[in-house]
């Protein structure tokens, strides 16, 4: 596991996702209302880029842009099927800098 700098909080788009290359990982990072979550970008269903999905109003659930599958961003777990899960990545704040552990 290695730490990567994403930039300041304001560098992340509010209310939507953005994909980052961190080592070999492609990670979707979401920011809404001060919360930042990071999950594997590839949907476990059919491989869509989750960074293009729709973020819930409270910023805790992402819906896949292709087939609407909902995932809890804090746990990576599919909201309807416990057996489907995304890899989650830790996000840390240091001052106003956002750091991704991937």
């Amino acid at each position: 596991m290695k730490e990567y700098l994403l930039g300041t909080l304001d560098d992340l788009p509010e209310g939507k996702g953005r994909a980052y290359k961190a080592g070999n990982a492609t990670v979707a990072v979401f920011r809404r209302n001060g919360k930042v979550f990071a999950v594997a970008n590839k949907c476990v269903h059919k491989g869509a880029s989750l960074c293009e999905g729709e973020l819930s109003e409270d910023g805790t659930v992402i819906r896949c842009p292709w087939h609407n599958w909902p995932f809890d961003l804090a746990t990576g777990q599919n909201c309807l099927d416990n057996s489907e899960r995304l890899r989650i990545y830790e996000v840390k704040m240091q001052g106003d800098q956002v750091i991704l552990c991937a």
């Binding site: 980052y20 990670v27 491989g47 292709w66 704040m93 800098q97």
Partner: protein, 384 residues
């Protein structure tokens, strides 16, 4: 959070736009057998003949289809969830985006079979076909299409096939299957099959019309899952059983049919069940129109043999079991290596990009990948 320590020298993560399509797909030939093309009504109308052109101001509303927005909990998700292709340029842009080499267009939202007036249906089908011939096909040979017909009136359908079926970029005939019509295997459609045989065209039987006002079969259904997720499979089996048991493939042994969006994991049960019933109870096959005309009393083969020789299935929407052995067994029991032809169903909400075909090499080896992605379609459609 907010630890107060000096910020170490960190690598910066690079913001990227990932390509969701598996890179292997861009190296293999991909033929998409179900892609919905939706010309603007003004364009279709410009090709309408009179007296239709001056009277049809809008696409005639044929049915009040249930909108999937309540099921998907957001607006704009359903028919054109991923965009709209209205021109050849739109189609080519989407093909490149998804790594598709060749596409077979099906009509989009402007499928007119539910309109009550058959001459109106036929006029819209002709206009759609003429738009393809004049403005879409000349742009690229990567674009093929199923020609549209009014199959509710078989003679009108046959006339349209004879009018435009010679065009080499029409590879098949688009037809809907649902419970609204008498099954496509009935002999009333023989004028259509006669015309298709003259041109060697494939019948593309695409799921449609599963809604309760079309059929009592689904009366009482309440949800998108019942209407869209389940009903097409039942309809598909009914149409296919009629084709086999009413002697379609005995009268037209070279006629090929591809079913779309009716599922396929039911194939093993269907084959075993029809063969079993045929062995014990086939006496009334002598009473169907085609057998009365030919004087034959039975089918020429077991029912399951017609499915293997004359019928193919497009793959969307693929449903993949979590148990790897089950997936491999299903593929084998459904003869997927020879019967499955890749389809995306773009731009509908259940759209499948081709990546899944190459992402399960333990169940789908490289040779089978090539057959599903393109080889089986090339074998099926003689004009590809």
């Amino acid at each position: 959070m907010n630890e107060m320590r000096p910020l170490p020298e960190l690598d910066k993560a690079e913001a990227i736009s990932p390509d969701p399509i598996n890179p292997k797909i861009r190296k293999l030939e991909v033929i998409d057998t179900d892609f919905h093309f939706s010309p603007k009504w003004e364009k279709i109308r410009s090709y309408l003949k009179e007296p239709f052109k001056s009277r049809l101001y809008h696409f005639p509303v044929g049915s009040l289809e249930y909108n999937p927005e309540p099921a998907n909990e957001k607006p704009g998700v359903g028919q054109d969830a991923h965009g709209t292709a209205a021109t050849a340029a739109d189609v080519l842009r989407i093909l490149d985006q998804f790594g598709t080499d060749t596409v077979i267009l099906n009509p989009g939202y402007n499928r007119p079979q539910a309109i009550f007036n058959e001459p109106v249906i036929a006029a819209i089908c002709s206009a759609h076909n003429d738009y393809l011939i004049n403005e879409v096909f000349p742009v690229s040979d990567r674009i093929k299409a199923n020609l549209m017909i009014c199959h509710r009136d078989p003679q009108m359908g046959a006339d349209e096939i004879r009018r435009v079926g010679h065009h080499k970029q029409f590879v098949g005939v688009f037809s809907s299957f649902s419970a609204i019509f008498e099954p496509l295997g009935c002999s009333k459609y023989d004028p259509i099959f006669d015309a298709m045989a003259e041109h060697g065209l494939v019948l593309t039987a695409h799921s449609e019309g599963w809604f309760v006002h079309f059929t009592p079969l689904w009366t009482g259904a309440r949800t998108w899952i019942e209407l869209f997720g389940n009903a097409p499979a039942g309809n598909c089996m009914a149409h296919l059983a009629a084709m086999i048991c009413q002697g379609l493939f005995d009268k037209y042994p070279d006629q090929k049919v591809i079913f779309q969006e009716g599922g396929y994991w039911w194939i093993p049960d269907f084959m075993l069940r029809l063969d079993d019933f045929y062995m014990s109870s086939s006496g009334d096959i002598a009473l169907v129109e085609r057998k009365l005309a030919s004087g034959e009393e039975r089918l020429k083969k077991l029912p399951s043999e017609y499915l293997l020789s004359n019928v193919r299935f497009s793959t969307q929407p693929i449903t993949i079991p979590k148990n790897r052995k089950h997936f491999a067994w299903l593929l084998e029991m459904c003869h997927a290596e020879d019967l499955f032809c890749f389809s995306s169903d773009w731009p509908h909400q259940t759209m499948d990009p081709a990546s899944w075909v190459v992402e399960h090499p333990d169940c789908i080896n490289e040779e089978m990948q090539k057959k599903i992605l393109a080889g089986n379609a090339r074998k099926l459609y003689s004009r590809l």
